[in-house]
Symmetry: C2
Subunit: 273 residues, 2 copies
Amino acid sequence: MTERPVFIVSDRSGLTAETISHTLLSQFPGIQFSQVAMPFVDTKEKVSEAVDQINDQAQRSGQRPLVFTTFVDENFTESLATADAEVFDLFEPFISRIELALGQQSSHQPGQSHGIANLVQYSQRINAVNYAMHCDDGLHPRDYAKANLILLGASRSGKTPTCLYLALQFGFYTANYPLTEEDFARDELPSSILDHRDKVFGLTIDPARLHQIRSERRPDSKYASLKQCRLDVNAARQMYQRYRIPHCDSTNYSVEELGSTIKHQMGLQSALY
Amino acid sequence: MTERPVFIVSDRSGLTAETISHTLLSQFPGIQFSQVAMPFVDTKEKVSEAVDQINDQAQRSGQRPLVFTTFVDENFTESLATADAEVFDLFEPFISRIELALGQQSSHQPGQSHGIANLVQYSQRINAVNYAMHCDDGLHPRDYAKANLILLGASRSGKTPTCLYLALQFGFYTANYPLTEEDFARDELPSSILDHRDKVFGLTIDPARLHQIRSERRPDSKYASLKQCRLDVNAARQMYQRYRIPHCDSTNYSVEELGSTIKHQMGLQSALY
């Protein structure tokens, strides 16, 4: 199948444009796209080069490319629009309406969407990431007093990446504690957790999925067996119910969606802006 | 100063809508916004509740709120538009043009922008995150063969969060190695690095900024002194020049921008889609 060429052209990192275009194109599941990111196109010359590359591709593939852009400089957008392509300016339809609503001209400065570099925010993120690593996998429970959030779950239920995501995306101090057979045998949460019960959130997962994930790590082990996975997942669920710990199922969520769900359910506000 | 109320309403996590609206509003630096995220608004009842909450806020603040939404269900969008607010449907201006360009109707299914849950991608991310933690701060150099990328830099120049971001966002196996006085004294990179020179990328940072960051951690130490920071940063730069290691300055970049810059300069393609 021929792939429809897609270009994402931006004067900065292009992450916003990439996210939007990916979401838009996911609405057309029958079509294959070949996506080229062109970040840091920030001079007239680079815009010309981008136009050449797009036209080249249009000719080679015999298909009119889709181009998504978020240029702040209108001259760049106009140059780009000369390409033999369907060009989508992702901000233009909104900026003038917002100007009208706010009664103010937009600054036409490159976006600061990713929160550059004020030292307080930078430190918050870095410290949150360091905290997440310091308190990964049950380490250093004495430092739970500093946590915004403590994730519980059976081994491989998705705790670590979710913690790191929450630290990077929102600046939350997030610890995680793996529920093990020891906890299940005692049928009790350790006091380090119970002392901070209002910060605790549990992850569950489909046992069959957990079996797949664990099998990648230790194939054919008892640890990875479907039976053990079922036991662990059920025991974790019972623990959440018993202690009324809010929880959700990570099986069909991406790390981002899981992070947003937890933030929302725990009523946390981003520490970053 | 009164803050202009902003609502971000979504049937899923709302991350895309949050990113877009944040970028759009950053074009109006003179205005203070108070932003409320309303994720997982996925029933008629929840939409009504959202409308009530928005109207409430409009009345209380005496200011017409801005509302950003990415509903897939057009009925939800229509209900939301009845609110006493300026409602921006972030996808609508593009979807019909894309339908036309592609000659196909959009699926009107909730976006899969954050790449839910196919096992291969999930594993790639998780494994990349685990790798980044395993090879953080110079640990396990024997496993550099598996790396997609090895970041170098003086202590606290931003390596760890950048590695974790690259792992989460793009699924890259990213190690990091701190350049220390030992390396500078030998005036040579260790063989573990030289064996993988094509994967190496260096971070530099403004010495004054590094001084601030290190002072947070160990105030008034030799380590944090401006003099030591200058020495370390200069020695690292010389190392990069000598070995022709591509590098960039992390001072004015967010973690996201740094990640995109490195990906771009190293010619890496995301492992995730």
